[in-house]
């Protein structure tokens, strides 16, 4: 097993047990690899790359409960990245699917690309389209960094409603990003 695999796995396991710092580090270190992965495969669609990176980050977040501790992390990440890429190509039409090499090279960590291009869709703007019971919890907890209790007091929602709102809001956000394409 590669050193990257071990490092990322350790970070994600800490993240899944509630360590937000480890989670941030995990996302930050993984991101350049995702970007390089898509840049190499979507050479004809450079404008799509950063949007796809964001879509995959959000998908990984929403689906992080599907990672099993004994499972190779590389395979898990690769499957999500490839799934989202194929989905994008399918939506853009068959031509792109035929011209894009969909190799099963699972070496996620062979190339990395720090330089972020521009995402064309502003997730902030999409956030505004969410209903209040989802938008406000995300605003207060995820952007301003308040605790669930503080958010509950501020919005008049219960703590569990705040948590549900964030969960559903981020899922809805993933749907909105996809539909924007």
């Amino acid at each position: 097993m590669s050193a990257s695999e071990n490092r990322f796995r350790e970070l994600l396991l800490r993240a899944l047990s509630g360590d937000a710092t480890a989670y941030h580090l995990f996302l930050k270190e993984l991101c350049p690899y995702l970007r390089a992965y898509f840049r190499r495969r979507l050479a004809g669609l450079p404008d799509e790359v950063e949007d796809l990176v964001q879509e995959v980050l959000l998908a990984m977040h929403n689906q992080r409960h599907t990672y099993e501790k004994n499972q190779p992390l590389t395979a898990w990440i690769h499957a999500i990245a490839r799934h989202k890429m194929v989905d994008l190509l399918r939506r853009r039409g068959k031509q792109d699917v035929l011209t894009t090499p969909l190799d099963d090279d699972t070496d996620m960590f062979a190339h990395s690309e720090i330089d972020a291009g521009d995402a064309r869709h502003d997730v902030m703007k999409l956030l505004e389209r969410l209903p209040d019971r989802q938008r406000l919890p995300i605003q207060h907890m995820k952007l301003e960094g308040l605790s669930a209790e503080e958010t509950a007091r501020l919005t008049g929602m219960s703590v569990s409603a705040v948590k549900v709102g964030i969960h559903r809001g981020l899922k809805m956000l993933a749907v909105l990003i996809k539909d924007e394409r």
Binding site: A20, Y23, H24, V123
Partner: protein
């Protein structure tokens, strides 16, 4: 939004994730689906009248248990196919083995029987309804299995749907065996298997439509 901001947003206040939640969703979903199938069987078809005598025959238990073993193989298969990056594991081999067992028993019975009695062994008295009834009993289970899978992330939605259909069909066959009076291996090898196959195909079809994310 810059990707950096998105990552910060995702990480901020990220709650711990429990892995037990998936197993509990699976148990709840399949429990409800199985209950639904049993209810439909009892209310619509009724348990066979001679179940007390039938329970002393090995064939009765084969009818219940062979599909039940298929369920035991299909549950982990469906779980695996509902998670990104998982292979199908050993379950397809177990399922192929069960099919081989069902068909070879059917063939042995047919070869052993006089030519005139073979049609009776194949068609029994209920061949026209058997496959349809099993598919009907599979529906509550299929719905429950899809509800479970929707909470996960199948990257091969057609396979995950087919596996859920197989799981539902096999469980339905096991439940239907409590009603169905047929006891001939050729009948079971054809019409029961066909019922499970229809449910599997239905699952694959619906998987393509409903399990994309």
């Amino acid at each position: 939004m810059k990707t950096d901001d998105l990552m910060r947003m995702l990480a901020t206040g990220a709650a711990p994730v429990s892995s037990a939640a998936v197993a509990s969703r699976f148990a709840r979903g399949l429990g409800c689906g199985l209950l639904g199938a049993i209810l439909v069987m009892v209310l619509v078809f009724g348990v066979r009248n001679d179940i007390a005598q039938a329970a002393s025959l090995p064939m009765f238990w084969a009818k219940v248990l062979v599909p039940a073993v298929a369920v035991l193989a299909a549950v982990p298969l469906t779980m695996r196919l509902s998670r990104p990056g998982r292979t199908s594991g050993p379950a397809p081999l177990v399922l192929a083995g069960l099919l081989l067992f069902a068909w070879s028993s059917a063939a042995a019975v047919l070869l052993d029987a006089p030519a005139a009695g073979r049609a009776e062994l194949i068609f029994g008295a209920t061949w026209k309804t058997c496959t349809f009834n099993i598919t009907l009993l599979a529906l509550p289970l299929l719905g429950a299995a899809f509800w479970v899978i929707k909470g996960l992330a199948p990257t091969r939605p057609v396979c995950a749907g087919a596996s859920a259909g197989l799981l539902a069909g096999a469980a339905a066959a096991s439940v239907y065996a409590l009603h169905c009076p047929e006891m001939a291996a050729p009948f079971l090898g054809i019409w029961y298997v066909l019922g499970i196959a229809v449910s599997t195909a239905l699952g694959a079809l619906l998987g393509f439509r409903l399990l994309r994310w």
